[in-house]
Symmetry: C2
Subunit: 141 residues, 2 copies
């Protein structure tokens, strides 16, 4: 049996384990706009009686980011947060209040095109682009 995750892992001599699948499945089921911290991933897996140790979650999140399956966010909510980078849904961008941390999401194709060009010019293989717009929200002005 093959899977996108399995294929990517095997190419690198890495293994497809139940823990890795559980973490990725969690992101797939929760939807692509959600931002989860390592701790939250842990909690959710424990709740669904799929116990995976926190250490493994940290190791897995890093792996999935390096495989280009997750996106590591820094929205300054204390610690990193992660979101799914699914091929189906379009990349989205974040409008972030620098005072209270409130975030809004939006899409923009020109921005994606700019990312594509930048990667190409520098000889990089593109994974995804995201625009962070820092601003002050109406409540905090």
């Amino acid at each position: 049996m093959t899977s996108p995750l399995g294929d990517g892992l095997h190419k690198d001599g890495k293994r497809l384990t139940p823990q890795r699948l559980k973490v990725l499945n969690l992101f797939e089921n929760i939807g692509s706009g959600k931002h989860l911290s390592a701790e939250e991933v842990h909690e959710k897996l424990v709740k669904s009686s799929s116990k995976v140790s926190l250490a493994t979650i940290y190791r897995t999140l890093r792996l999935l980011v390096q495989m280009g399956l997750l996106h590591e966010l820094e929205l300054s909510e204390g610690g990193h947060r992660y979101e799914l980078l699914s091929n189906g849904t379009p990349d989205h961008h974040h409008l972030i209040c620098i005072r209270c941390g409130r975030t809004e999401e939006f899409e923009n194709d020109e921005v994606l095109e700019a990312g594509k060009v930048a990667a190409k010019v520098n000889g990089f293989k593109l994974i995804e682009s995201s625009l962070n717009v820092r601003a002050i929200c109406p409540n905090c002005i």
Copy 2:
């Protein structure tokens, strides 16, 4: 004597202290493309015999970000990093290798325009926009 920093602070009942000046000056002198962690800011200030406690540096970095003078980056190099957001130099974007962390910078006006629009549509007051392009660099492919 007035200063941009001083004015911004006073408006909020906050004070212009030597420590705050030293931190901001460090970023101004080092140039706007540099990414410093709290620890690095501390080291550099100690070296230039301007001792400021690490606790104060953390407090100051947060303050300067909330004032819109520094930008908190998401480059995943372990801990947060900061760079100057000077009004003189144009906003720049980052092309980041998800494997090794190597980063390249580039500029793009259309991206800035997209940020401006997003902020306006949502009623936010724009501070700055930055595009993060995640990719795999030639060495890591």
